[in-house]
Amino acid sequence: MADCSYLLNSKQMARFVSDGYLRFDELVPAELNTAVCKEMDLHGVPREKAGARFDDIWKEAAIGRVFRMPEVAGIIRSLVGSNPIYDHHAVHTVPAGHQTGQIWHADAIIDRRMFSAFDIQFFYFAHDTPREMGGTMILPGSHYRYISETDIARYQNFLNQAPIVCKAGTVVVVHHGIWHCAQPNRTDRVRYMFKLRLNPAVRQLRLWNTDDIDDPEIPGLLSISHKWYGNEERLEQVNRIKFWRYLTGDDTFDNHYWLSRIENEPTMAS
């Protein structure tokens, strides 16, 4: 059971709704990072059966200790609930001297669960990852787009694209729809990124610490702009409002009147 004090708060959830990810720098301690790097070097992270309950796997492996840290368990519980479903994991490896970036993609076919259940993916960087080593590039706010896998491979660059450049122990958690790509590794060392996908086993309703659910900063956090949206920014505002309604269970929630206006269809005669 995760410690409630490590749950995400409503402002963090609002950022997740707007950006499609949350970043936690240097969250995992050095000794655990070292142990996980060793496991990855030795191909020692067991592949589990998709659909397994997460509490039942990796009981001995160092990687299991990472995801059982109260800080990480709190993130998991806030987003997909306790004891979620293991989907898959991958040790993403970029060889030393790899000079080109991976094509942009999402890790999913078209997923119609746009404003209902969602999966999360952890990107865990167990060693320092300076820009010359990559890391993974993500496109903030790209998670509501109806695309399939590498449909987006023609794109190369976007305003405000965000490479994950970080110190060892950094954990990024993303919505399953986020657009991303590995970046070149121009160093003489192999680069690892440990990815884990989890599915919810419960309705994702107010799973985080909602003590600050009425915080006045939340409307602003739900309105954060991403420059690459261009003219579609207001459509993305609609997406966020619909997702926040799902997460909070409040079907009347609105932000800056975007949905109230277009849902207004009076039926009473004058």
Binding site: T100, G101, I103, M137, Q156, Q161, W228
Partner: protein, 93 residues
């Protein structure tokens, strides 16, 4: 004898106005001199399609505009305002 090869510049704009700002971009070089890929630049090569035209790029494809399919009015997917431009450049044949 010099030969020519096509270079493509794909610009994605904020609005359909060709003067509007570039929000995404890609370059595909048929001369073989350059290899572009994801994340290789944080700054667009031009601020707009018109700025690229002023530098000699020729627009060869406009995005078509269609009303949203019923039920998909609020869906987002690909970047809508995609302009494809070309330049012909000489290579040593």
């Amino acid at each position: 004898m010099p030969q020519q090869r096509q270079k493509l510049l794909v610009l994605y704009l904020q609005t359909p106005d060709l003067h509007s700002n570039v929000v995404s971009w890609a370059i595909f070089d048929g001369t073989g001199k350059e290899r572009h890929f994801s994340g290789d630049n944080d700054t667009p090569p031009y601020t707009s399609v018109v700025a690229a035209m002023q530098d000699g790029w020729r627009v060869i494809q406009f995005p078509q505009q269609w009303p949203a399919y019923p039920g998909m009015e609020y869906h987002t997917a690909y970047l809508k305002y995609e302009y494809i431009l070309e330049k012909m450049e000489e290579i040593d044949g």
